[in-house]
Amino acid sequence: MNTTIRSTTLENLLAACDRLANKYRTFAPTSEDGVTGFRPLDQMTKEQRQAIEETAFANKPTVGSIKSFFFPDSEIYIKFSRQGRKVEQMELEGMGPQIILGAKPCDIKSVELIDKVFLAEPVDSLYQDKRQKTIVVATVCGEVGEGCSCREFGISPVVAAADLMMQKGSGDEIILTPETAKGEELVKELLALGSFAIAKPLPLSAGDTAVDQLSAEEVQNRMDELFNSPLWDKLAMTCLGCGTCTYYCPTCHCYDIRDFNRRDQGVRYRTWDSCMFSNFTNMAGGHNPRPTRSDRLRNRFFHKLNYFVKKQGELACVGCGRCAELCPVGISISSVLKEIGRDVHVS
């Protein structure tokens, strides 16, 4: 039985989250120096706090996606110190539970796609721990945003499978409808604070049928045909080989393992890596299976539109539009989909 609750204003909800700070750390989308992203409530300026509503209910995702809550850009997993030849590992303090307010349907879907990799055997415990300890509160988009193509990837901008759904009620009201046990538990705690009222859930539009959804099968086959196409060399000619598209893509999950040490102590950590860098595959002996930018660019698009389909059965893209917006030279998933053509949609 999920009890929908109503908050008079978003600020009232934020104040409630502040009061729960000893149990949950709450993050919300806002903007800093003109760049949108998630920031903890306890480190926000007044202006940033006021910008939450507009960013959370905008029809477009933030520049930084929620991927970094589960797969952070850098994460220490071994801390050690060395006495002579003996190496001793130190305890790492775990992470407390956290709330993400205002995740978009496309970002939520991208986390589900990464789940297929990190939660498969052998389970990545660092990722799993964060997934279990995070409550995701979704805010849907009214309709497809200007740079977005979520519908093409079977994602409806008005439906999101999250722990809680946050919608705008009448006027400034905020309606919260739990969809999972975690969501239910948070609603209970919010009710206990006394500043919320039980309410009737808003009708969740069923989301229109998959109007022009791409068929993973068709796209995969079409990509196989395009393997030796001159498209890759053409795109690679203007590609800069930087890491923007991979670091900001919500479904990219490649990582590097590095060591940092100073004299007798140090850490081993995992950090984001990009298949667009040549060091990604460059080997100690000097052999590099993907030596040119064209190889790497082809590999990146193949992973999203072909390899991931073969391994996991779905396209590894959620149509969030970040690659189109952030690539300095305008290369994006649509540069490839344009080449693939129209006849690959679900009939």
């Binding site: 990545d124 799993q128 990582y255 060591d259 081993r268 052999h287 299976p289 193949f302 390899y307 991931f308």
Partner: protein, 274 residues
């Protein structure tokens, strides 16, 4: 929270043998021993320096693991300075290992190049230890850059030639005053030997360029792709098919490989050795 698959366990170095000027074979006893197939690998790590995947060169069934490591970079340099009794991080086993079931009852042709003999040695020794399961003819073709670079002298000149029906053919790339064996590359040497593809499986491992031409030569000599097995080596970091770098088409070499039949490789579009 389940155990983090990336955490190494401790292992003590119990013996070190110098195979050549830049290759040493380390015998390591992990805290918790794990059994493995020939051809599988394990991640060796020195905290603060790095981690890398090395093939296990000892056959299954021993109470230790052996790794032959060539000095090529930062980690291997540091590993070469280890002494007996030192501790090293280890996790594994990783990779699919050689298809020991399919090889039963077949003649076996082992083709190794330089440090590439390390994973093959695990298979050869396993086959020798279980001769009844592998009663066929054994042929080893092993090449190295120079006489000094020939590794595993104890096996290639010691134990293996003494084994029943085990033909050892050695080659070097550059002539040497007291070397009367074949001089040239392994693929050329194959064409001079009498190789009978009938009921024989060829298993090869070596630098990518050698593998590329060995596969071509074996096919030319009448070996069908289903009877040719090779290993591939890419840069690997996680070893569990998640960090995304060691893919050949959609296959992760650390998890779906490193051992492939040529028949599988021929379905793969990407060229593993450009």
């Amino acid at each position: 929270m389940c155990l983090n698959p990336l955490l190494p366990v401790g292992g003590i170095v119990t013996s070190i043998f110098s195979e050549s000027s830049d290759v040493k074979t380390f015998q390591i006893k992990p805290e918790t021993m794990f059994d493995h197939l020939p051809g599988q690998c394990a991640m060796l790590s020195l905290l603060g320096i790095g981690e890398a995947l090395f093939s296990i060169t000892s056959p299954p069934g021993r109470d230790y693991l052996e790794f032959s490591i060539k000095r090529v970079g930062k980690l291997t340099e540091a590993l070469h300075q280890l002494e007996i009794g030192d501790e090293v991080g280890i996790r594994g086993p990783y990779g699919n290992g050689f298809p020991v079931e399919d090889l039963k009852g077949k003649n076996l042709l082992f083709i190794g190049g330089g440090i590439g003999l390390a994973p093959l040695r695990s298979l050869v020794q396993y086959a020798v230890d279980n001769r009844s399961l592998y009663p066929g003819k054994f042929q080893l073709v092993y090449g190295a850059r120079s006489v000094e670079d020939l590794l595993f002298e104890r096996d290639i000149r010691g134990n293996w030639p003494k084994e029943k029906d085990f033909e050892v053919n050695l080659s070097v790339d550059v002539p040497h005053k007291d070397w009367d064996g074949f001089v040239g590359y392994v693929p050329q040497y194959l064409e001079q030997l009498t190789l009978n593809p009938e009921n024989t499986i060829g298993v090869t491992c070596g630098p990518p360029i050698m593998i590329k031409y060995v596969l071509k030569t074996l096919e030319k000599l009448g070996f069908p792709p289903e009877q040719i097995v090779t290993t591939l080596e890419y840069k690997m970091k996680c070893g569990v098919g998640k960090c995304g770098r060691c893919n050949l088409d959609e296959h992760y070499i650390c998890k779906d490989g490193p051992v492939f039949y040529l028949s599988d490789l021929q379905k793969i579009k990407n060229d593993f050795c450009k």
